[in-house]
């Protein structure tokens, strides 16, 4: 069934199709419609879940932890300040190996107050042990919620899916809502091997001395190492079942491209449009869409970008005192493993912080700049900055 809906509602429908048991969430612009829609669905009995109207995002995540530890499928959604408030528990939930799924609407952090889109909030949580997926449109949002549970529960790790404030969250698009039976066959009920169970009591998360902490951290990383393949398969399987396949990275006109744009979220759509224009002019520009940011799809990125000359990374975020975060990650993936000589030039563009519009012209400027420059001269190329 197709329906016109805003990105936030796509999140809610994704959660509903995933048959979540417990939702604990706290409202924050621009995520509020997710919460509102879910509480309505629960109240109307259209969804068989408990909605805990917690008093903070911190408690939202804590409640999800409790629910998940007891074997329930837990869901939450937040944004920006709320995500920052949760930070401590992001570590706790991944370390506790809890397959919680959270939607984060990318929003800038204060002060001053800014409710518009920016990627820093989610990217700042990159070291917490959560998987991260960035969505390009509302359909992908809905589908990604479902796929996230599939991935999370196989890995026993939490997953965050990210959508841009307003550009997706509040924008109405046509979204195909898959049949519930279809999703049920894709996503079986959550049956963890070990959980809080009075018949088989264990203590979870006790003190760990240096004797064992190291190895247990290693194990988490080991799981992360498997995550890329699990995520790829989950997207493939979803495609077979629902007819919309997804991959962890998605190349577009990449094979022969001289300049490759690397982007995530709605910046990908803008880039696609600009690439189409350039291709018409015969200029070989391609695109690498990063759907998955954590674990970073290093292997696939290396394969796909092998032999490329110039890469333009578009960051709607900043790691203060360093650079754009995708830029850093890309460099880290491509350099330092012995192939430095033949490696591409990488250009790091920071654009659209705090929700400033990113126009097609802006993207074209990025392409032009990259085409023009022989090699990268600055770590940050500020786009659209009113100097």
């Amino acid at each position: 069934m197709k329906k016109v809906m805003m990105g936030n509602h796509a999140v809610s429908y994704g959660a509903r199709l995933s048959r979540v048991d417990v939702i604990a969430a706290y409202p924050i612009t621009p995520q509020t419609q997710i919460v509102e829609e879910l509480s309505e669905l629960c109240a109307d009995g259209k969804m068989d879940a408990k909605f805990i109207k917690v008093e903070s995002e911190h408690s939202a995540m804590a409640s999800c932890m409790g629910a998940s530890a007891a074997g329930g499928r837990a869901f939450t959604a937040t944004s920006s300040q709320g995500l920052a408030l949760m930070h401590e528990l992001l570590h706790f939930s991944s370390g506790g190996r809890l397959p919680i799924v959270m939607a984060n609407v990318n929003r800038a952090l204060g002060p001053g107050w800014n409710i518009w889109t920016e990627q820093t909030d989610s990217l700042a949580q990159r070291d917490t042990g959560w998987l991260q997926f960035y969505c390009e449109n509302n359909q992908e949002v809905l589908d990604t919620v479902i796929m996230s549970y599939k991935i999370a529960e196989q890995l026993s790790l939490p997953v965050m899916l990210v959508l841009d404030a307003f550009i997706l969250s509040h924008t109405y698009e046509i979204v195909d809502i898959p049949e519930q039976e279809l999703i049920d066959s894709y996503l079986p009920p959550y049956k963890p091997e070990i959980k809080m169970d009075v018949d088989n009591p264990h203590a979870f998360g006790a003190l760990v001395t240096p004797d064992h902490y190291f190895e247990i951290r290693y194990k988490l990383q080991e799981t992360m190492d498997k995550a890329a393949e699990v995520a790829r398969k989950a997207g493939e399987e979803y495609g077979e079942l629902v007819g919309r396949p997804y991959d962890i990275v998605e190349p577009y006109m990449l094979d022969d491209a001289d300049v490759v744009i690397v982007a995530a979220g709605t910046l990908v759509s803008n880039s696609r449009a600009v690439i189409n224009e350039y291709r018409e002019k015969g200029i070989k520009v391609g695109l690498l869409k990063l759907r998955m940011f954590r674990p970073f799809p290093t292997k696939r990125v290396r394969e796909l970008l092998a032999g490329k000359k110039k890469i333009a990374v578009i960051d709607r975020n900043i790691s203060f005192g360093a650079t754009g975060i995708f830029y850093q990650e890309l460099k880290a993936a491509l350099y330092g493993h012995g192939n430095g000589a033949g490696s591409p030039n990488i250009f790091g563009f920071i654009i659209g912080l705090g929700g400033r519009d990113v126009t097609l012209e802006d993207i074209a400027e990025i392409v032009d700049y990259t085409l023009e420059k022989e090699k990268n001269e600055e770590d940050i190329i500020w786009m659209g900055l009113k100097r």
Binding site: G95, G96, R97, H202, F204, A206, H212, E215, I216, Y218
Partner: protein
């Protein structure tokens, strides 16, 4: 203890921090520097009881309404609970820790209830050994002789008791009046002994009907012939008609003689004989009075008896002594008294009365009953056994001549029923060890009950090796955790109206009822002995105390006990001790 978990490789490790075993792998007992131990101690009441009755223990049973069991515990040490429940001056009560809290426990009244409860019980279960050949003869069927007979019989000996009077019981039979100790009660407790196999031959006087030498033919002999000769006043007129010796007077009454007293009867003395005589005289219709040469505080009689006499309206004149009995035609008419005052303390610690010059006065009297003490009559026994008017013996009644043992009033000890019973028991233990070629001396530390001269037959019986109980450690009030007790007055003992008393020889004091006995026993702190209140079990923060499998008492798991000492402090009755670790 659960198994320690070791991971040999990273693949053994779980992917998350999850427990796989219990903390029982941690031997937290190694933290301990003080070690709690279950350590029963001696209650002061038991120490105070010359018969060493296991009071604490029978209170435990009485409080739970199991009077059969209470009786058994009691009779383990003393075969005369119904008698003692009536006539004992209960030094246990004056030692009772509860006295420091509200009022001492009514031990004597519970003892009496228990005694009456078991009045027609058999003693058979107290038999400890098969029959032995050895024959033991006892002279005197008073409480000392009969107590010794009982314990010896338990040990399997052939016991014969020779009693010169017609009936056994000694002063219980012929001294103490019926209104304090009904004859049927005494008879019941004595006949129980006879059914138990103690042979009592009455009307047989040692030294007369049986010669001393013949008496000595037995494997062992126990002398318990008591002291019955009334001391003389040594004043002019003592032979006048109407002058009676106290114990003789009581004895005749007890034998059923009808003695006609005049109206005004003076009883001279302040001891038990005086009190019994004066109250008996009252019941015979006279108007008697007490004349005593010191003050009330120095009176040697049991305080209860003095109080009862007062309650019955008997006047008491203190600090007076008769200096002459005045007669007319050989019959008593009057008595000349001299006033006294208290001087320096004498050897008994009491202040010596000294005459006040020129203070004599005369009172008219119809009878004088002298009751200033009794002396032993040792004409029938070898002189060398006697010194300073008593039979020389040690604490266990061992005289210098084997196999002669002695006890009761004839040895140097307080003249009380319970001391007599205690001495009979101690002598029985000494005789047994003697007959088995042993010596009681090395055993004394193991069987003693505190430091006041009492010894436990139970411990003697059970063997004394490896006994965890330090019998000498007596629990004082400071060791009682009073948080676990609430203040409560003791139960009153029912008494006959004064009016009803003086017209008959009906028993003055009654037996408390069953509920009262249980309730009163519940007041007992059970000093020093675990009564399984569960406090230690409940309060251990380390789950180191376990109920034993047989559900009797507890065990401390020293692998885990951290030695916090809570169990020790919170034991209401000091049945645990904390000792330095490694001792």
């Amino acid at each position: 203890m659960s198994k320690k978990i070791t991971f040999t490789s990273i693949s053994d490790l779980p992917p998350l921090v999850v427990s796989l075993g219990t903390t029982e792998v941690n031997p937290t007992g190694s933290w301990r520097y003080l070690r709690p131990v279950y350590h029963d101690k001696t209650a002061p009441c038991i120490e105070g009881c010359p018969a060493s009755e296991d009071i604490e223990q029978y209170m435990y049973w009485a409080a739970r309404g199991d009077f059969d069991k209470a009786w058994e515990v009691l009779v383990e040490e003393n075969p005369f609970p119904a008698v003692c429940g009536r006539v004992c001056y209960h030094p246990c009560e004056s030692s009772c820790n509860r006295d420091h809290f509200d009022q001492s426990l009514g031990i004597n009244s519970i003892e009496r209830f228990i005694g009456d409860h078991g009045l027609d019980f058999s003693l058979d279960k107290f038999k400890l050994a098969g029959e032995r050949e050895q024959k033991i003869a006892i002279a005197g069927a008073g409480p000392a002789g009969l107590a010794a007979a009982y314990h010896l019989r338990r040990l399997g000996y052939q016991v014969v008791v020779y009693e010169k009077e017609e009936k056994p019981g000694g002063i219980l039979q012929y001294g103490i009046p019926r209104y304090r100790l009904p004859k049927d009660i005494l008879a019941a407790e004595i006949s129980r002994l006879e059914r138990f196999g103690v042979e009592i031959k009455t009307g047989v006087q040692i030294g007369k009907d049986i010669s001393w030498e013949e008496f000595l033919q037995h494997d062992a002999v126990f002398l318990a012939i008591g002291v019955h000769k009334s001391r003389k006043l040594n004043v002019p007129g003592e032979d006048l008609d109407g002058v009676l010796a106290g114990l003789d007077f009581l004895s005749r009454i007890n034998k059923g003689e009808n003695i006609q007293l005049g109206k005004k009867v003076a009883v001279i003395g302040g001891g038990n004989t005086a009190m019994d005589a004066v109250r008996t005289a009252l019941r015979l219709g006279s108007t008697p009075a007490i004349y005593y040469r010191r003050t009330r505080a120095e009176m040697p009689a049991i305080l209860d008896e003095i109080e009862e006499a007062e309650r019955e309206g008997i006047p008491m004149e203190f600090l007076v002594t008769p200096v002459e009995l005045i007669g007319e035609n050989g019959a008593l008419k009057a008595m000349k008294l001299q006033k006294m005052k208290l001087g320096e303390p004498d050897e008994s610690g009491r202040r010596r009365p000294v005459p006040v010059e020129g203070s004599e006065y005369v009172v008219e009297v119809d009878n004088v009953i002298t009751a200033i003490g009794e002396q032993g009559d040792f004409t029938s026994i070898p002189e060398k056994l006697v010194e300073w008017g008593v039979v020389k013996s040690d604490a266990f009644g061992q005289t210098e001549q084997r196999p002669v043992f002695a006890g009761g009033d004839i040895i140097e000890q307080p003249h009380t029923v319970v001391h007599a019973i205690g001495s009979g028991k101690k002598a029985a233990m000494a005789i047994h060890t003697y007959l088995n070629g042993g010596d009681i001396a090395p055993l004394t530390d193991k069987i003693r009950v505190g430091d006041k001269g009492g010894y436990s037959f139970l411990r003697f019986r059970d063997g004394h090796e490896g006994d965890p109980i330090d019998n000498r450690e007596v629990v004082t009030f400071e060791h009682i955790n009073t948080s676990y007790f609430t203040r409560k007055d003791r139960h009153e003992v029912p008494e006959l109206d004064v009016g009803a008393r003086i017209t008959s020889f009906e028993e003055v004091k009654g037996t408390i009822d069953r509920e009262a006995a249980m309730d009163e026993a519940l007041r007992c702190f059970n000093c020093g002995v675990c009564n399984m209140c569960d406090n230690c079990l409940v309060f251990c923060p380390d789950v180191a105390i376990k109920r034993r499998d047989d559900r009797f008492r507890y065990e401390i798991d020293y692998a885990y006990c951290k030695g916090c000492g809570i169990c020790v402090i919170e034991c209401p009755r000091s049945a645990l001790s904390l000792i330095p670790e490694g001792k």
